[in-house]
């Protein structure tokens, strides 16, 4: 429970402190499939539907590494 609160706080904090640059968002694609990405602002993730992967955004910096992406169940 406490962990969950911390996580939420951190998430809020991240959104407040560092927004992803919209110009950067415009040019990014999935590094694996080169398909467009969906920006999930509350989760701070960039989602590649084709690859089934969610790339995290940490402190406004997208981490476009396949081995750090979260796999999405289809």
């Amino acid at each position: 429970m406490r962990l969950e609160k911390t996580r939420l706080f951190l998430q809020d904090h991240t959104i407040m402190s560092a927004q992803i640059d919209p110009k950067l968002l415009e040019i990014l694609v999935c590094p694996l499939t080169k398909s467009p990405l969906r920006y999930d602002a509350p989760a701070q993730e960039l989602i590649s539907d084709q690859a089934g992967l969610a790339y995290p955004i940490r402190d406004g910096i997208p981490i476009m590494l396949v081995d750090e992406a979260r796999q999405i169940e289809k």
């Binding site: 640059d21 110009k23 950067l24 415009e26 040019i27 990014l28 694609v29 999935c30 590094p31 694996l32 080169k34 467009p36 992967l53 940490r58 402190d59 406004g60 910096i61 997208p62 981490i63 476009m64 590494l65 396949v66 081995d67 992406a69 796999q71």
Partner: protein, 297 residues
């Protein structure tokens, strides 16, 4: 977790990240190669009288003021700096061989001493070319085949004489002629490749190896020996180095070859070769000489 690296990787990405994390604090005092290279790159760019509104810089070890200088010189209003790790000035984390940029999204891609540790260099170059709009510029510098040839030979000799076999300790760097071929293979037009060899002098090989480690260039070859090589190996290598690669001033020479690459994404406005046999004038007229027929016997 998805494992994207092919099983035959030359370089170990995790080790590459570790080497880079370790050097975060020491890099500013050991980044002379990066400083030198970024200045040459800016010079090269100043010869190109064009504007590149949207550009990317691959490699995170350039100084923060370089990004600003690059933006001004390239006429960019948007420059994204990509590295394998988050760090100063980095605004996207990614791998060169899995480039996260949309096709034709960029006007220019720059890279400073970063592409030598990439597993799939042809693939990385192809993806860079695809991320450029037609007539977009690729301007990069990377370590070439002559780099650390003295240390390579010394370690090899030492290891052979002590252990009767060798482990890979220095990167397999690409050569200048190979780079020209790779640029063409990746579909770049008007490719230009040249290199400069920097000779750096050291008191001893331990200072050289410290420098390499402190700039984040320790051994990240996947097949590297993971056991401690022992003091004897390095002492033997030092002996070989001192005997063979000493300068006139008694200090040890270490070579760093920096290869510079320029390539353009193809565009119809670029000069094209004419079709064979389409010449309008005779070569002999242009040279003001008589034409001599050669017998083909």
């Amino acid at each position: 977790m998805v494992n994207a690296a092919p099983p035959s990787s030359v370089f170990d990405l995790e080790a590459r990240k570790c080497a880079r994390i370790r050097c975060v604090n020491t890099l500013p005092a050991h980044d002379f190669l990066f400083k030198w290279t970024q200045n040459v790159l800016l010079e090269r760019l100043s010869d190109i009288k064009r504007q590149f509104p949207r550009s990317a810089l691959l490699g995170g070890r350039t100084s923060p003021d370089f990004s600003d200088a690059l933006k001004i010189q390239a006429g960019s209003d948007f420059l994204t700096k990509m590295d394998i790790l988050p760090g100063a000035g980095v605004n996207v984390v990614g791998e060169e061989e899995f480039l996260p940029f949309r096709q034709g999204a960029l006007d220019a891609v720059f890279s400073v001493l970063d592409l030598h540790a990439v597993n799939d260099l042809p693939g990385a170059l192809l993806q860079i070319r695809r991320s450029l709009r037609p007539d977009g510029l690729f301007l990069a510098a990377l370590f070439g085949g002559e780099t650390l040839h003295e240390l390579r030979a010394s370690l090899m000799q030492a290891e052979l004489s002590l252990k009767g076999g060798i482990a890979p300790r220095i990167f397999p760097f690409a050569d200048k002629p190979q780079m020209g071929a790779l640029l063409q293979r990746a579909g770049f037009s008007l490719p230009v490749v040249d290199s400069e060899i920097l000779s750096v002098s050291y008191d001893n090989i331990f200072k050289l190896m410290h420098d390499l480690r402190f700039m984040g260039e320790s051994n990240v070859i996947a097949a590297r020996s993971k056991t401690n090589p022992g003091r004897a190996l390095f002492l033997k290598a030092a002996e070989h180095y001192g005997k063979n690669f000493k300068g006139l001033d008694g200090r040890l020479n270490a070579s760093f070859e920096i290869i510079f690459l320029i390539g353009w994404a193809p565009h119809e406005s670029q000069q094209q070769p004419l079709a064979p046999g389409s010449a309008q004038k005779r070569l002999s007229d242009a040279l003001q000489t008589a034409e001599v027929k050669i017998d083909n016997d």
